[in-house]
């Protein structure tokens, strides 16, 4: 039962990683570069949610603020920077995204200060199933994460704009020849990627504490999950996030708490050696 509790702990952790990885993988699949500003989009979402929560006292309003504000800031980043660099190399875009990350972090630091802030949510005793304890907050956060995932997948697979996004991800030139306007697709992409990061940031913020650096520190596990899941694959990102979370926690009786983080990278190395395209990735020809 000890392991069952660790499994639950890992699932909760994995959902946050998975959402962040989803945002990274969406951008990589369509805009074709690793967006290092994702962590700071999360931070932005957390502060947006925090401000709305303080003003209205409602977590739902906080979530709405996180989704809208982070979607907008992500779109602004695209319009101001990434669109102009669209024809440049991946490295130029990556470096630009690191610059945007620094910019967002610095602005948040000036606006909100560097000391930690917390969501004042009431703490409640956990539900006990056998010897497994699950807190109501974790259940609510899991529900929010699953709803966000369902919405993203519904947009990707059930709407015309989602179909166009997948078409651009598959083959940009063919999509353009078929009459898909890349501009609209990119706007939809950045709104979606930003909103997902915003939700991930709010979830992490409610579980932990909010500081201007806290999203940046989540970037590494999120990237790991995106690669492990097969870069560009939304399902893969979420599954890989869950795997990372669970493996880290369940391994702790064997490897201890210090090395559980290293374990995530060992798994990633193993996957890349055996299956370089990741769990759900497709092979791509060289361009």
């Amino acid at each position: 039962m000890f392991y069952a509790q660790l499994l639950v702990n890992g699932l909760v952790q994995g959902l946050v990683i998975g959402l962040a990885a989803l945002s990274i993988t969406l951008v990589f699949g369509i805009a074709r570069f690793p967006n290092a500003a994702t962590g700071d989009f999360m931070t932005f979402g957390a502060y947006a949610a925090l401000s709305a929560h303080k003003a209205t006292g409602s977590i739902a309003m906080g979530g709405l603020a996180a989704i809208i504000a982070t979607g907008v800031i992500s779109l602004l980043a695209y319009l101001a920077v990434f669109r102009r660099l669209a024809e440049r190399s991946v490295v130029a875009l990556l470096v630009a995204s690191i610059g945007i990350a620094f910019f967002i972090r610095a602005v948040l630091g000036v606006a909100f200060g560097h000391s930690q802030q917390v969501f004042q949510v009431p703490l409640s005793r956990p539900y006990v199933f056998g010897s497994v304890r699950i807190t109501p907050l974790d259940l609510q956060l899991a529900a929010v994460a699953l709803a966000a995932l369902a919405l993203v997948f519904a947009i990707l697979y059930l709407t015309p704009i989602g179909r166009q996004m997948r078409a651009v991800a598959d083959n940009r030139d063919l999509a353009r020849v078929s009459g898909i306007r890349p501009d609209r697709v990119m706007i939809a992409l950045w709104l979606l990627a930003g909103s997902v990061a915003g939700v991930a940031g709010m979830m992490l913020g409610i579980k932990t504490i909010v500081t201007p650096e806290f999203g940046w520190e989540m970037l590494l596990p999120a990237f790991t999950a995106a690669i492990l899941g097969g870069i560009g694959s939304p399902v893969g990102a979420v599954v890989a996030g869950l795997i990372l979370g669970v493996v880290q926690e369940v391994s702790t009786p064997l490897v201890g708490f210090t090395y559980k983080i290293a374990l995530a990278f060992i798994i990633m190395l193993a996957v890349l050696l055996v299956r370089p395209r990741g769990l759900f990735g497709r092979l791509e020809g060289a361009r």
Partner: protein, 406 residues
Amino acid sequence: MTYTRRQFIGTLGATTALIGAPSILRAQSQGTFRIGALCPVTGSGSPFGSGMQKMIIAAAEAVNAAGGAAGRKIEIVSEDTQTNPQAAVLAAKKLIDVNKVQAILGTWSSGVSLAVVPLTNDANIILMNTSGAPALSVPPANAKGLSYRFQATNDRFGRAFAEICEKEGFKRPATMAFNNASGIGNTEGFRKAWEAKGHKVVENVVYEPNQPTYRSELQKVLAANPDVIVTGSYLADTTIIMREWYQSGQPVKWVMPGWAASPDLVKAVGPDVVEGVISVDSVSNENAPSYKAYDEAYRKVTGQPGQSNVYAAMTWDMVHALALAIEAANGTDTAAINAKIREVSNPAGQQVYTYAEAKEALKKGKINFEGASSVLDFDQYGDVTPDFGVFFIEGGQLNRRYVVKI
């Protein structure tokens, strides 16, 4: 863009002037002794950093008002460590190479001090810190004996924790430590002192920073059924741990260092969660006249009581001890100053409390400066032994019940 030879030479000239600038600055500073005030103005040390820096400046003003040290004015150059070793190293490099400071004062948090000390050692200048890591006492960090610590070592904190656990009658303590020199220093110091008393520690857990949850770590500690958990932790991780522990519903007491169990923690998690937590911090030398002078200065600059920032009392003392050593050495040679620091601070000698008073007494003979932060007696490692205040969190307030001497 075309680039003529004339432009090139112009740029070259400007660059040379820029590189040469520090030596020009140095040429102007003959009558001064320049000190770098390297404090955690931002980052997790931000509740203390700006007060620490202001007290370095205020103490320097007090020294200058009394005619300076060895005929020189003290000049302060301020920098921010951001409570981050990388940023601190950059700032220290700038202070040493560009500003040519002759001592660096005020580093907080062990990671920062351990990162800065190789630079001050290489430059052969004095570093005065407020960090706890035991590694700062011994080589390689303190190979040259140029590093002084104004805070209790984590090891001494651990010993104080053991005294408190014995006094409170705890039988089954467990420990949780943040994985760095300071966190592990606290819990290891506790474990050694506790086992020396003939008791056993039921579980030790070391955890990583920046984790979204510490539930598995807590699960392991609580599985050992401790009656008290002793931590070496910081505010951010303690906030998460306390919330998750409260939700677990298993009763246990906590003993924590004061920088973790602070009023900010009460604000973050609410008074119910931290009710009964025992917070331990070094206490200032509150009955000494030097503390009164510090308290006045602190109130004047920040509007807060001096008690709200134990580290500011330490930085106040740093400038005093250093300036008195300069005065006693009658020069600015680091080796000569370093040889005098213990001489002016430790017994025997006439007990003195302010710079002006000490400077006068120094003319007559040996002095013993008693600081605002502690009696300021450095051992062979450059460490001091302050007393520890034991605070109980009751109804959201930190109430000091007693003081422990080790």
